[in-house]
C-alpha cells in the first residue's frame, strides 16, 4: 500500500492541531458514510410496518420483501456503480426482459432454430455484454451524454423484444422455456430455491450438532453484539499502559453474574424470578463493562464539568414527549380498527382548506424572503395530518404515534445528556425512562408481539445505553486512530482453513450426490464459516492476550459477522415446533404450510452488494470509478483509463441484467415482452435513496442495496398493513423523501461535528484515492 494515500488519519500518534488528522470515533465515521441515511431509513420503515402489521416482521414477511428487494437490488448495485462513475443506463430495465426473451427464443424449436439452452444461455450473456460494450463505447467515442445514447438502446430493445416475439411466436408472451433442451441443468442454477420448511434444525433431526437453532441464533446474536460493543469501545477509547487487575477481576465477576442471571432467566418461569434475574443480568453486564473499561482504558479528565446552554430544555422536551407517548397510548383505543378519518365533515374541510391557503401564502412569503422556509414546511406537515388520517386505523395510529413520540423523546433526552459533563447520571436516567416505557408497553399491549418482543428490545436498548454511558464515564477518548492489527500472518491461517474447508465440504457434498451448484454454495458457505471462526478466535485471543491496539476494527468485523450469521440462521432454518405452529389443515384434509423460500436471486443480491462495496472501497478499480465520476479529465490526466473504466461499468450493468433476466425466465418459464420496462428509473431512484449522487463521483454500492430493501419493504409493507393500495405511491413517495432528507441531515450533522472549519470537505472519509507515486503529497481536492 505504499502508493496509496487516504483521507483517513494515519497512525501518527501526535496529531497536533491538524484537523485532517483528527480522530473520528467509529460512530462518527459511520455517520459520514453515504449509506447511513438509507440505513436509518430502512430501520425506521421496518419499525413502522412492524408496528402496524402482524405478519410483516415474521420470517415469511421478511422473505416476501427481500424477494422484491433482491430483483431490484441486483440491478441497483451495478447501476449505482455506473452512477458513481458519472453515467446512466436507461436501457438497464428493458435489458432484463430482453435477455430472457432472447434466451427462450433461441432455445426453443421455433422456425427450426432450436439451439437448446446450453447454447442459448451463454449466447444471451454475450448478447447482453455486447450491448453494454456498445453503450459504453458509443458514449466514450462520441462524448454524447449517456442519457441520450442509452435512451436509444432502451427504445431499440423494447421494439426488438416486441417485434421478435411477435415475429416468431405471433404472441407477446414467449412461453415454453421448460420444454427447451437442457432445462433441468440450467433450472438447477437459476431456478434453485432454499425451501425453509425443508431445513428443520432440531436436536433429533440434524446430523451431528447437539444445539438447536434457537440456541445457536440467540447465542450468536449475544456474542456478536458483545463483540461489536467492545470493538466500538476499542476504537473509541485510549488504552492504558498496564492492565488494571482490580478492574479485570470486577469484569470477570460481572460476566459470571450476567451468565448466571441469563441462564436462570431463560430456564425459570415466573414473574418475580424473571424480574430478579433480569436485574441480575443487567447489573452483571454493567459491572462487566465498567470493570473492562477500568482495566483496559485510560481514565478520562473530568475537569471540564459543566452544562452547555439549553440542556434542560432538551431534558424537559424529551420527558414531555415520552409523557405524550404514554398518554396517547392510554387514550386511543387499541381494539378500534375503524378508520381514523379526522376532519370528515364540512368543518374539517374548512380547516383543511384554510390550512392549505395559509401554507400557500407562507410559501409565497418565503419565496419573497419575508419568512424563513421553516414556517410553510411546518404548515404543510399540519395539513398532511388530516390527509394521512384517512389511511390508518385508530389502532395503527396509536402504534405509530406512541412509537414516534417515544423515539423523539429518547432522542431529545439523549441530546440533553450530550450537553452535560459528566453525563453519566443523565444517561442512566434515560435508560431508566426506557425501562419504564418497556414495562408500560408490556402492561398496555394486547398482542404478544408488543408485550414480549418490543418489551425485550426496549430493555436491551436501555442496557446498551446504560453500558455505553458507564463506559464513556470511565474511559478517555482516543486522540489518534488505532494502528492496523498486528496479526497479519494469522490471516494466512484463516485463508488456508477457509480454502481447505471449502474443498473438503464441496467434495463431501458431491459425494452425497447433491447438485453441483448446491455443493459449490454449501462448500463456500461452510468454508467461509470455518475461516470466520478462526478469525474470531484469533481476534479474541489477540484482544485478551496481547497489547495490540489494532484489534478494534477486527472486533467490529467479528461482531457484525456474528449478528448477520444469527439473522441468517433464524431466516434459513425452521424448527419442528415452529412448523407445528404455522401449518394448518385445509378443508380437503391436506396439510398446508406457508412456503418460505429464498431464491438464487436473494443470494445473488447479497453477493453483488458485497462485491460492489468491496470493489468501490478497497480496489484500484473502485478508485477509478470515483475518479472518472468526479472529474473525468482530471482522472485521465493522473493516469486513470477513463474509457475502459466506463465501458467496464456499462458491461457490468448489462451482465447483471442478464442474470436478472435469467432468474425471471426460469422463475416464470414464460416471459411477457414488457417485463422489466420502466424499471430503469426504479434502479436509479433506489441508488439515490441509498446515498448516491446523480452527478457522480460519490456514493455507495451497499447503499443502493439498502435502498432496494427500503423499496421492497415499503411496497410490500402497504399490503401487509392492509392499507388501501390506492395510497401506495403517496406512501412510497413520502417515505422515500423522508429517507433522502434523513440521509442529508444526518450526514451534514456528522460532517460538521468534529472538524470545525474545513477547507477540505471530509465527505470522502474512508475512500482511498490512488495517486501515482510521484504525485503523492500534491493531492488536490476535486469537488
Amino acid at each position: 500500500m505504499a502508493d496509496t494515500t487516504t483521507d483517513k488519519p494515519t497512525e501518527s500518534a501526535d496529531a497536533g492541531g491538524d484537523e485532517r488528522l483528527a480522530h473520528r470515533g467509529p460512530i462518527q465515521t459511520l455517520l459520514t458514510r453515504p449509506e447511513i441515511g438509507a440505513l436509518l431509513g430502512a430501520v425506521g420503515v421496518w419499525v413502522l410496518f412492524w408496528l402496524v402489521s402482524a405478519p410483516f416482521g415474521t420470517v415469511g414477511g421478511t422473505a416476501n420483501f427481500l424477494d422484491v428487494a433482491a430483483y431490484l437490488g441486483l440491478m441497483a448495485v451495478p447501476v449505482a456503480l455506473l452512477m458513481i462513475g458519472g453515467e446512466f443506463d436507461l436501457s438497464s430495465g428493458a435489458m432484463t426482459g430482453a435477455t430472457a426473451i432472447f434466451a427462450i427464443l433461441l432455445a426453443n424449436d421455433i422456425n427450426g432454430a432450436g439451439l437448446g439452452l446450453h447454447v442459448a444461455v451463454p449466447l444471451s450473456l454475450a448478447f447482453a455484454l455486447a450491448i453494454g460494450w456498445f453503450n459504453g463505447t458509443l458514449v466514450e467515442k462520441t462524448s454524447l451524454p449517456s442519457f441520450i445514447v442509452t435512451l436509444g438502446t432502451f427504445f431499440m430493445l423494447i421494439g426488438a423484444k416486441l417485434g421478435f416475439s411477435k415475429l416468431f411466436t405471433n404472441k407477446v408472451l414467449v412461453e415454453g422455456l421448460d420444454e427447451a433442451e437442457g432445462y433441468d441443468f440450467w433450472n438447477g442454477i437459476f431456478g434453485a430455491e432454499w425451501l425453509r420448511n425443508g431445513h428443520v434444525w432440531d436436536v433429533r433431526e440434524w446430523s451431528g450438532l447437539w444445539l438447536v437453532r434457537d440456541e445457536i441464533w440467540a447465542g450468536l446474536l449475544i456474542c456478536g453484539s458483545a463483540a461489536l460493543l467492545f470493538g466500538v469501545f476499542e476504537l473509541t477509547y485510549a488504552r492504558r499502559s498496564a492492565v488494571n487487575i482490580a478492574g479485570f477481576v470486577a469484569s470477570l465477576v460481572g460476566v459470571a453474574a450476567a451468565l448466571v442471571g441469563f441462564v436462570a432467566l431463560t430456564s425459570l418461569d415466573g414473574r418475580a424470578s424473571n424480574q430478579m434475574f433480569g436485574a441480575l443480568t443487567a447489573a452483571g453486564v454493567i459491572l462487566a463493562v465498567a470493570g473492562w473499561c477500568r482495566a483496559r482504558y485510560e481514565r478520562p479528565d473530568h475537569s471540564d464539568n459543566g452544562r452547555s446552554a439549553g440542556w434542560w430544555q432538551y431534558l424537559f422536551a424529551g420527558l414531555a414527549a415520552v409523557g405524550v407517548a404514554i398518554v396517547l397510548a392510554v387514550i386511543l383505543n387499541a381494539e378500534d380498527s375503524s378508520q381514523l378519518g379526522f376532519f370528515g365533515g364540512s368543518f374539517g374541510r374548512v380547516v383543511f382548506a384554510l390550512g392549505i391557503a395559509v401554507v400557500g401564502v407562507l410559501a409565497v412569503l418565503a419565496a419573497l424572503g419575508r419568512v424563513t422556509p421553516g414556517y410553510p414546511a411546518i404548515g404543510a406537515v399540519l395539513v398532511a395530518v388530516p390527509a394521512i388520517s384517512f389511511l390508518v386505523t385508530v389502532q395503527a395510529a396509536r402504534a405509530i404515534l406512541f412509537g414516534s413520540f417515544a423515539l423523539i423523546g429518547i432522542a431529545l433526552l439523549w441530546s440533553a445528556a450530550g450537553r452535560v459533563r459528566p453525563s453519566v447520571v443523565v444517561s442512566l436516567g434515560i435508560s431508566l425512562v426506557i425501562v419504564i416505557l418497556a414495562f408500560f408497553v408490556q402492561a398496555e399491549s394486547a398482542s404478544r408481539k408488543l408485550r414480549v418482543e418490543l418489551f425485550t428490545v426496549l430493555l436491551l436498548v436501555a442496557l446498551v445505553l446504560a453500558a455505553s454511558a458507564v463506559a464513556r464515564h470511565l474511559s478517555a477518548a482516543r486522540r489518534s486512530a488505532p494502528p492496523p492489527p498486528q496479526f497479519g500472518r494469522w490471516m494466512h491461517l484463516c485463508a488456508a482453513v477457509g480454502v481447505v474447508a471449502t474443498v473438503v465440504f464441496f467434495v463431501l457434498e458431491m459425494a452425497d450426490g447433491d447438485a453441483i451448484l448446491y455443493a459449490v454454495i454449501t462448500g463456500v458457505a461452510k468454508g467461509g464459516l470455518a475461516a470466520f471462526v478462526v478469525y474470531a478466535v484469533v481476534t479474541a485471543a489477540f484482544t485478551l492476550l496481547t497489547r495490540d491496539e489494532g484489534v478494534g476494527r477486527a472486533l467490529v468485523t467479528v461482531g457484525i459477522g456474528a449478528v448477520m450469521l444469527s439473522v441468517a440462521t433464524r431466516l434459513l432454518f425452521v424448527t419442528g415446533a415452529e412448523l407445528e405452529k404455522i401449518c394448518t389443515v385445509g378443508s380437503d384434509g391436506e396439510m398446508r404450510c406457508p412456503q418460505t423460500q429464498f431464491g438464487v436471486v436473494v443470494l445473488s443480491f447479497v453477493v453483488f452488494a458485497a462485491i460492489g462495496s468491496w470493489l468501490l472501497m478497497r480496489t484500484q478499480f473502485g478508485s477509478w470509478i470515483m475518479a472518472v465520476g468526479g472529474n473525468k479529465e482530471a482522472a485521465r490526466s493522473v493516469g486513470v483509463p477513463a474509457a475502459r473504466t466506463k465501458t467496464t461499468l456499462f458491461m457490468m450493468v448489462s451482465g447483471a441484467a442478464w442474470i436478472t433476466g435469467m432468474l425471471i425466465a426460469f422463475r416464470l418459464t414464460a416471459v411477457q415482452a414488457d417485463v422489466g420496462d420502466g424499471n430503469e428509473f426504479r434502479y436509479i431512484i433506489v441508488a439515490v435513496v441509498g446515498g448516491n449522487l446523480l452527478t457522480g463521483g460519490y456514493g455507495s454500492a451497499l447503499g443502493a442495496g439498502i435502498g432496494a430493501v427500503i423499496w421492497g419493504m415499503i411496497s410490500q409493507g402497504i399490503g401487509f398493513a392492509q392499507w388501501n393500495s390506492d395510497w401506495r405511491f403517496l406512501v412510497l413517495g413520502a417515505l422515500l423523501l423522508v429517507a433522502v432528507l434523513a440521509n442529508n441531515y444526518v450526514r451534514g450533522k456528522a460532517e460538521k461535528a468534529p472538524v470545525k472549519s474545513s477547507a477540505t470537505k471530509p465527505d470522502r472519509a474512508g475512500i482511498t484515492i490512488i495517486v501515482p507515486k510521484g504525485l503523492t503529497g500534491s493531492k488536490e481536492d476535486k469537488e
Binding site: N170, T584, I664, D674
Partner: protein, 350 residues
Amino acid sequence: MSRLLKLLAAVLAITLIAASCGDDEGDAPAPAAPADEAPAAPADDEAPATTAAAADEVVETQGCDHTFHVITHGDSGVFWSVVEVAVNDAEAAIGCDVVYFGSNNDALAQSQEIEAAIASGSSGIAISLADPAGVSDAAASVVAAGIPLYTLNSGVNNYKDLGGVTHVGQTEVVAGNGAGERFNALGATHVLCARQEQSNVALEERCDGLAETFNGEVTSEFVGLDANPDEQQNGIAAILQADPSIDGVLGVGPNLPLRALAAGEQAGRELVIGGFDLSGDLIDAIEAGDVAFTVDQQQYLQGYLPVILMYLQATNQNTAGGGLPILTGPGFVDTGNASVVKALVSQGTR
C-alpha cells in the same frame, strides 16, 4: 475516426437487416432474411420486392380505396396482441388498408393519432375509450368530420354521447357480475380482487361488478404491474398473510391468476382462483385444476368486428347495433372447455 465510421456502417447494416425482417411479417410464408448472403445486399433487393407484393394484393381486391383505422389505448401485452391479429385478419378478409395503432395507455398519443387519421381521410375509425376525458375531444372531431366512429373494448358508457355508431366489447360490470356468480357457486367467502394497473376504469369496474353479485366480502387492491411479476406474486402473498379470511382471488388480467397460485403456495393457503382473459400458461393451469375459471371477453371479436362493420358501412351503408352495444362476452373458460380453447390460444387468436 475510421473506427467510428466502421461502427456506424455496422449499425446501419444491422438496422437494414432488421427492417427487411420486419417487412416479411405477414406478407408471405417465404423464409426470413437469407442468412447466407452478404448482410447489406438483401436489404436492397428486398425493398422493391415487398412493394411489388403489396401492389399485387391491391389489384387482387379490385382496388379498395378505403382506409380504416383502429386506434386503441392498447399496450404490447397478451391481450392486445390478439386484437391486433384480429385486425390484420380482417384486413386480409376485406382487402382494404387497415391501420392499427396502440397508444400504450397514452391518451395524448391516442388523440394525436386520431387527428392524424382524420386528416388522412379515413373511411372509418374505431377507437377504445379507456380514458374518456382524454380522448373524447378527438372522438368528437371524428364525428364532426363525417367519419363513422365505432368504439371497441372500453367506452360503452360514452359512445352514444359522442355520436358513435355502436360499441363492440364486453361491459366490464357484466363480466364482473359473471365472475361473482362463479365465486358464489364455488363457495368462496372473501375474494381479493387483484388489479395489475391503477386508475384503469375498466379494471375497477370488473371489481365493482364482482362486488355486486358476490355474496361475501370483496377486497380490491392493486398488487403490481405486469412488468414486475415478482412484485405481483409477493404483493398478493402479503395481502393473504395479512388477512387470513381471504379464500378466493380474482386476478383481473391473464397473468395475475398464475401469480396468485404461487402466492397461495407461499402463504400456505387454499384458494379459489379466477382470472380474466387468456394465456397459454393460464389455460394449462385451468386444465390442471389449479385455477377455477377465467372470464374471456373474446377480444378477437373486438378487433375483427369493428373492421368488418366499418367496411360494410363504407361499401354498403349498413349500420349495426341499432343504437345498442354489441357484446363480445363474458365467455368462460373452465376445466370443461380448456383443452379446446388451448389449441386456439396457441394460434394467437384467443
